[in-house]
């Protein structure tokens, strides 16, 4: 397992993307577009984690853990926010409805769900753990 701990501040999300894309490209046979998908999904999860820390002490950290199985990559994003219910995200009006333009937020979770093969949101003792799973070929020799 490899772990990256960042301050819960927006400027560090780019560092998490580098962490994920370099591990994905050097350690596994993963097509470029799948690396992009994983990078975006993890980035969205980190953005939510940092958002969950707004109003809390800035010394709080977000921890990103990278783990590998025979046929899968697992990235978890651990925050110390107050937690949330992913099923409570409001539905947007249809894209053809002019009212759709009143909604700028709420696209992160649907993006995560469609980009990775499995996603799990779990409350932890301290906050929330979001685990993203992507199936892939065996580890590089």
């Amino acid at each position: 397992m490899v772990e990256l701990e960042i301050p819960a501040e927006p400027e560090f999300v780019g560092l998490v993307r580098l962490f994920v894309s370099s591990l994905a490209t050097t350690r596994r046979e993963l097509a470029d577009d799948r690396v992009d998908d994983l990078k975006l999904a993890v980035s969205e999860a980190c953005t939510n984690a940092i958002d969950a820390h707004v109003g809390k002490a800035t010394s709080d950290r977000v921890i990103v853990r990278w783990a590998e199985g025979d046929d899968r990559l697992e990235v978890s994003v651990n925050d110390r926010g107050p937690g949330f219910d992913p099923s409570s995200i409001p539905q947007h009006p249809p894209v053809t409805d002019p009212e759709r333009l009143n909604f700028e937020r709420g696209l992160g979770i649907p993006l995560i769900r469609s980009l990775v093969d499995e996603v799990d949101f779990k409350p932890s003792a301290e906050g929330t753990v979001v685990t993203l799973v992507m199936y892939c070929g065996p580890a590089e020799e």
Binding site: P10, E11, V13, G14, R17, D33, D36, K39, L40, S43, E44, T47, I50, D51, V95, T96, P98, R100, L101, N102, F103, E104, R105, L107, G108, P110, L111, S114, L115
Partner: protein
Amino acid sequence: MDLGLEVEERNGHTVLAVKGEVDVYTAPRLRERLVELVTEGKRNIVVDLEGVDFLDSTGLGVLVGGLKRLRSNDGEMSLVSTQSRILKVFEITGLTKVFSIHDSVDAATAS
């Protein structure tokens, strides 16, 4: 992380060329620039995303907000992108039906 934001006038349109990564850290700068352009009276804005390496939901939100601001001022905004990794984000979220997306600045500014 730098976000490039260059503005030029072309064929009655204001072209905002964005370069770099648009995420939770940099998207506020894109939002500010779009608000400034509308405040300056620009009404036909083309956002050129060809130089964008990464775009997340925060960036999409800023573009949706920009389009709303323009339409409520009798303006219009269109986008330029040919990169599959960027177009995919619009496709997944259904926003390809909200934005008019062109494959070049020439095409976006032709009308």
